[in-house]
Amino acid sequence: MKHTVDIPVQDVVPHERTVLRAMGVPRDREPGEQVARVLEEARDELRSLARPRGIYAEVSPRDFARIYRGDGDNERPNPLESIFPRADHLALFAVTLGAGVSDRIPDLFGEGRLALGATLDAAASESVELAAERLQRVVAGKARPKGGGAHASGRGAPDARTLRYSPGYCGWNVTGQRALFSTLGPEEVGIRLLPSCLMEPLKSISGVMVTGPVEIHEFENDFPFCSECRTKECRARIQSLRHEAPGIRMPTEGNPNGAA
C-alpha cells in the first residue's frame, strides 16, 4: 500500500553551516558579510519555494529482489544484495522539494546571480536529504512500533535501525530507477523519470529504506567501485547507527547540531 506524506518546509531548511560545508567551506571558517547575506537569501528562497512531499510503500524481500535486479546492470558483488535479504522491513520511497526550487536555480544563473544560484543549489541538495530523513522517520516508525516491542509479525526489533539506499550508489545501477518507479509510482507526488533515469524535479531522491539490526547495515568499503566514489558517505551513515538514536539526524535551522 502506498502512502504520501506532506513534509513541513520548516523541517527541511538546512542550517547555514550545513550549506557552507556542502559548498566546500571548512567548518571553522566564518563566512564574510557578503557570503552570509547570500546564504540567508538562499534559505529564504528555499522557504518560499520548496513544497516537500514524499511517497513510500512497503515491499516484500522477494518483490524487492526483482526491483533491485532491474535491468541486470548492478555491480557484483555489492553491499545491498547481502543487506536487504536480512532486513525486517523494506520500503520503496521517493521524496521531492517540488519543481519551484529546481526551476529557480537555472533562472538565477541566467540572471547572473551566480553566488545565489549556487548557494540555493547547495541548500536544496541538503534540504532534499532532510526531507528524505523526515520520511525515513515516518517509515522507521511504521517498521518499529512505539512501545519498544516488535510488530505482531515479529519484525522490527526495538534496536532496529533504518538506512536508505538509492539507485546510482553503492553498486545499484541507476537504471534500477525504472523498476522502482513502475512499482512505486512517484508521479503521484510530482516526480517524473526521464529516459536517462534522471528524476525531474532534480531535487528529488528515491530508493529503498531498509530496517533491521545494526549489524546488517555494516560493510567494508572495499568493493571495486568504492575507489571511484567521491562521497564516502557510507562510513558516516554506518557510524551514526552505533552512536545515535534510530535513523540519522542532520542539522536543520532549529536544530543546528542535528541532535535527536
Binding site: V25, G168, L194
Partner: protein
C-alpha cells in the same frame, strides 16, 4: 593604488558595484578596454582562481568575484567587440544529452570566463552533433562536456568519435568531467583531458590551448 590594481582588488573581494564604477573610471581616463580586461579583471580573477585552488577561499567567494567580473565585463564587451580583441580562445561547454545537471558545468564556464576564455555555453541536454557543429561554426579550440549520470556518459564518447570522423580531432580538443567521470574513463573514450573540479578544468584547458 593604481586604478587597474584597484579593480583587481575589488574584484577579489567580490564588490561588483566598485568594480563597475572603477571600470567606468578607467574607460573615462581613456585606458584601452583590453588593458582593463587583462590587467584589471583577468588579473583579479587569476588571484581568485589561485586562492581557490589553494583552499584559501571557497566557492561562494569565487562566485561573488565572478559576478564582480561580469559587472566590469558588461562595460568592456561592446568596446572589445569593436576592437576585435582576441580572447584566449573559444571553449564550447555543455551538459551531455539526457543530463540536466548543470551546476558543475556552470562553474567551469564562470572560471574559464574569468581566465579570459570566450565561453559558448550550450546549456544542458546537449546532443553530440550540437557540440561538434558549434565548435566548427565558432572556431572553438576546446569542447568541454559534463555528465552526472553513468547513463549519459556514453554521449561523451559519441562527441569524441564524431570529431574524429569529421577530421576535427586535431583542431578541436576535448575535456570531460562530472561526478561519475574518471581520468581512466576520459582516456578510454579518447578525450584529450579530464578535469576533476572547476579550477582543475581551467588548468587543463589552458594546457590544451597552449
Amino acid at each position: 593604488m593604481e586604478l587597474l590594481e584597484q579593480i583587481a582588488k575589488e574584484l577579489e573581494s567580490g564588490d561588483d558595484k566598485a568594480v563597475g564604477s572603477l571600470t567606468r573610471s578607467a574607460l573615462e581616463q581613456k585606458t584601452e578596454a583590453s588593458i582593463i580586461l587583462n590587467e584589471g579583471l583577468i588579473a583579479g580573477m587569476q588571484v581568485v582562481g589561485d586562492r581557490f585552488r589553494d583552499h584559501e577561499i571557497f566557492l561562494p567567494d569565487v562566485l561573488l568575484a565572478a559576478r564582480a567580473m561580469n559587472a566590469g565585463l558588461a562595460l568592456l564587451e561592446p568596446l572589445l567587440a569593436e576592437s576585435d580583441t582576441p580572447a584566449r580562445g573559444k571553449v564550447v561547454i555543455g551538459t551531455v544529452k539526457g543530463d540536466l545537471h548543470d551546476i558543475g558545468k556552470n562553474l567551469v564556464g564562470i572560471m574559464l570566463n574569468g581566465a579570459g576564455f570566450e565561453v559558448i555555453d550550450l546549456g544542458k541536454d546537449v546532443a553530440p552533433r550540437e557540440f561538434v557543429e558549434t565548435a566548427r561554426e565558432t572556431g572553438a579550440r576546446v569542447i568541454g562536456m559534463s555528465a552526472l549520470l553513468t547513463t549519459t556518459m556514453p554521449s561523451m564518447k559519441e562527441v569524441v568519435s564524431l570529431l574524429k570522423s569529421e577530421g576535427l580531432n586535431g583542431t578541436v580538443r576535448t575535456i570531460v568531467g562530472g561526478a561519475p567521470v574518471t581520468e581512466e574513463y576520459a582516456r578510454d573514450i579518447g578525450a584529450d583531458a579530464y578535469g576533476f573540479d572547476a579550477a582543475n578544468a581551467v588548468e587543463r584547458v589552458r594546457e590544451l590551448t597552449n
